[in-house]
Amino acid sequence: MKHIKTIANPKHNCINPKSGCDECRSSCQSACKTSCTVGNQVCEQKKKEQQ
């Protein structure tokens, strides 16, 4: 395409049987303690798949 370049196509809201395992960290337990930041976390299932 001439005018548009796609950088990421994550389909991040797709529903799959493994979603919702809840093994990821509580988002406030990391560094912030004053805000809720979920988007910079990584899914534990995907982390396992990559290992």
Partner: protein
């Protein structure tokens, strides 16, 4: 669906982006596309506009633009606990002037958690964790190292119980560093999944607000200790974490100062204070703050490309491996999956509520939780916050901090607006950085 509410078109540092909210697809676009989407086509030819329309249609056909939200029934949050913020000490050896915890005592008595309460907290967590395998315990305060013996015994006990009940404990300690020595640093390095080291940046900035009981600045007392910790930490998780206030709106210099000290995992948060405080972030500060994030983003890329790599918490973004939809709807889990325990064993929805008696949910020794308070949090998620429905950043903040919503607006469903505005700007910068790393 209103297609204008399903995407976010923005400019950052002279470049143009199109972000599809539901799919998370990110596109770099040229000025013509940006202007077209803003409704300004006066200086373009019909041929140019037709090209843009055709390319946007291709994206739409391929599920990369104007995508619909998934059709899933609203889920009531499970009553399973996976994280505890353990206030092992409500005493502190600093008197930071912006402390939300009332200089460590949470507006109550200065006291340490007993070993009995600490171990009861671990039993309480395991008993309420259902099938969850990963459990988190954050040693918090006050200053948790003022109660190091209890902290160590709690770690030992939790690991032993974890082996029996097939639970993996992930520990975090948040410390102001004053009591760090070689032995304690080595211990934390071995046992903690994450260590948060408090420092606000430049010496003058840090020492203005992070002072001892004798009003002495803490910078010179902690920086070398943090450097030792960094030297032994390897590639394990830690953060040098600071706060910026109305006194240092040029906070980019503080982030870079921390990086220049040799730390490569950094978080700097805007202070959250009640209205009228001289240190609070106000609406009129926002444009200055936005500009600071842009300056930081530019420097961030430059340093990462030239051998001075560091990570800034709010610029970390992994679009391809982000959490699932359920997590994005539910957020931090405060009041439901994530609870805080005061030194006397009282349970609160999170550390931000500790000491507010109307939010006391029970005590770890009785193990009984006030479900009426839990219901408030369990019935709240991204879908119950009207202002969030039209926000393009909603899947990254999950509706924001519920404690801030309650404390500022007296309504859990109305997010704290200053925080929202800052969050959105940081995310635009993070998307800009992401595009540079993936082009």
């Amino acid at each position: 669906m209103d297609i204008l509410l399903s995407m976010h078109c923005f400019e950052c540092l002279g470049e143009y982006f199109l972000y599809d909210i539901e799919s998370g697809a990110l596109h770099v676009v040229d000025r013509i596309v940006y202007d077209y989407l803003q409704g300004d086509i006066s200086c373009y030819s019909k041929n140019q506009i037709d090209e843009v329309i055709d390319e946007l249609q291709q994206l739409t056909d391929n599920g990369l633009l104007y995508t619909n939200p998934p059709q899933v029934p609203r889920q009531i949050k499970e009553r399973v606990i996976k994280s505890l913020c353990l206030h092992v000490s409500h005493d502190c050896n600093l008197r930071c002037k912006y402390c939300f915890a009332g200089q460590g005592a949470y507006h109550g008595d200065r006291l340490n958690m007993s070993i009995d309460i600490a171990l009861a907290s671990i039993d309480f967590l395991i008993a309420n964790s259902g099938t969850r395998h990963n459990l988190e315990v954050d040693f918090f305060g006050g200053e948790p190292l003022l109660n190091l013996d209890v902290l160590k015994k709690t770690v030992e006990y939790a690991n032993a119980q974890g082996a029996i009940y097939n639970k993996q404990f992930l520990f975090t300690t948040t410390t102001n560093g004053l009591l760090l020595n070689k032995e304690t640093s080595d211990y934390l390095n071995q046992t903690m999944e994450n260590v948060v080291l408090s420092l606000d940046g430049r010496k003058s900035v840090n020492d203005e607000l992070r002072v001892t009981a004798g009003n002495k600045g803490s910078y010179d007392l902690i920086v070398d200790k943090y450097r030792y910790f960094r030297s032994i930490r390897g590639n394990k998780s830690y953060y040098v974490r600071g706060t910026f206030t109305a006194l240092n709106l040029d906070f980019c210099a503080d982030v870079l100062h921390i990086a220049d000290l040799g730390f490569d995992q950094i978080s700097l948060e805007p202070v959250v204070l009640s209205k009228g405080d001289v240190l609070e972030i106000r609406q009129e500060h926002l444009q200055t703050i936005f500009r600071q994030y842009e300056i930081l983003a530019k420097e961030y890329i430059e340093r990462r490309q030239n051998g001075r790599w560091f990570s800034f918490f709010h610029f970390v973004l992994d679009l391809e491996n982000s959490p699932c939809y359920k997590k994005k709807l539910s957020g931090c889990g405060a009041g439901v999956k994530y609870l805080a325990v005061a030194p006397n064993g009282d349970i609160y929805p999170c550390h931000q509520f500790v000491g507010e008696k109307e939010y006391c949910m029970g005590n770890v020794q009785s193990g009984v939780i006030d479900e009426s308070i839990r219901d408030i949090f369990a019935s709240t998620d991204l879908t119950t916050k009207p202002k969030c429905a039209s926000c393009w950043a909603k899947y990254h903040c999950s509706g924001g901090c519920n404690a801030n919503a309650i404390h500022f607006n007296n309504d859990i469903s109305v997010p704290y607006e200053i925080s929202c505005e800052i969050f959105k700007k940081r995310l635009e910068c993070a998307l800009y950085i992401y595009s540079k790393a993936h082009e």
